[in-house]
Subunit: 228 residues, 2 copies
DNA sequence: GAGTGGTCTAGACCACCTC
DNA sequence: AGGTGGTCTAGACCACTCT
């Protein structure tokens, strides 16, 4: 049989790209397509569902299935642990805890985490090394209210790996940007002030409250790459 | 009935997070789970397949289903058209074609596109505007060998939108990085040389050959954001 | 109200891979 | 060789939403 759901997906995609079904067009419903391809409706459904997930089709009950007008392209990136990232390059990973203290965070941090003003957080500064060279400068705010006690020695285990193992989280967001190296970052990474650094910021939440906000300043030359 | 595939996904996720099924653990097979949840095996399959796709489970025929040791987190981001991106902010989009010429590209460009040395490409420089202010400085290499003729006036329609409408492409990759503004970028964007710019680079391919390589230098302050 | 996609079932066969 | 996940079928009911 030549009609697996992947075959059907490929054929539908071909018709869209060949403009037999132009953008905005209503395509036949699942039952008709199943008839045409000589397969069960569930098989057509699987194929069309995948295409809708990829942003190629738009589906609504009763309204039917349309070719997306603006094919929003989606990219998926993996967010590995820094240790994995370093080891994947064939380098050895290490890190140094530069600073740890408990303090009241600045207002922007508290508000991004949705915390009352005056709540105390743990602040960490960590430098990650690849083959002994500075790789990432990490600044992190931790909400001790939602962490299991006792806390570990963050000089021995990196905060991220400890969190992964001991706190189950549900949602979060990631943002990427570019910023000039400030004095603290320049010193830690061993680069000139003002160099362009690739910045990753992540916020992590349990169902109830914020767990952590982390900012990673990557050494110059860092790239995030993905396949579409 | 409380056992939709989403319920089952949620319950499996709960057991993993509660460490009833710790990382690396082999979980019951689909048939046993179907029995336990009182549903069909296909329903369990759907739930576990989604979790495997999200990187929470690892599945292999005969070997069974295991809780992933290193839950590689995946983030999905949308890659909109620049025009959509500007309009989504409630601003008006415009652009200026600054430069167009046909020339032999530098070696790094040719090799990234997998072209023979000496092949001629079209080179474009475009400045995108949001409410009249510089937003993105775009430099683009186009492979005329795979483009439908005649080519449009790229001063009237942006290259990206024309490509979307007239060339069906199959694969590509995207990379993000941070770089200091060079003289050309600084002038076009109206910022000081050396400012940190967020850079997006995309390569696009048909099944046979490279279509385009585009580099977007975003104005300072630009962020790419996503939900996990 | 009615047409469409979303999901579930029970059963079957197959591809793959570990044992 | 046999167990596991991957997929397909034929049918059914349901949820949504457009008319």
């Amino acid at each position: 049989m030549i009609n697996s759901w992947e075959d059907i997906r490929a054929e539908v995609l071909r018709r869209i790209r060949a403009r037999e079904w132009p953008p905005g067009d209503l395509i036949p419903n699942e039952e008709d397509l199943a008839l045409e391809f000589g397969c069960a409706r569930a098989t057509v459904n699987r194929a069309l569902r995948e295409l809708a997930l990829a942003g190629v089709l738009e589906r609504r009950r009763k309204a039917g299935t349309r070719v997306a007008m603006l094919p929003v392209r989606k990219a998926t990136l993996d967010i590995p642990l820094i240790r994995q990232e370093v080891e994947a390059r064939g380098q050895s990973h290490g890190f140094q805890l530069l600073l740890q203290r408990e303090t009241v965070p600045p207002v922007p941090v508290a508000s991004r985490l949705g915390l009352a003003a005056g709540a105390r957080l743990i602040y960490l500064e960590t430098l990650h090394l690849a083959d002994g060279q500075p790789f990432v400068f990490e600044t992190r705010w931790l909400n001790p209210a939602v962490l299991p006690q006792p806390l570990p020695d963050f000089g021995q285990i990196s905060a991220n790996e400890w969190l992964l193992a001991h706190v189950s989280y549900t949602t979060g967001d990631i943002a990427f940007s570019a910023e000039e190296a400030g004095p603290r970052e320049a010193e830690a990474l061993g680069v000139a002030e003002g160099r362009a650094l690739f910045i990753t910021e992540r916020t992590t939440w349990t169902a109830e409250a914020a767990i952590t906000l982390v900012r990673l300043a990557h050494s110059p030359g860092y790239r995030v790459q993905t396949m579409v």
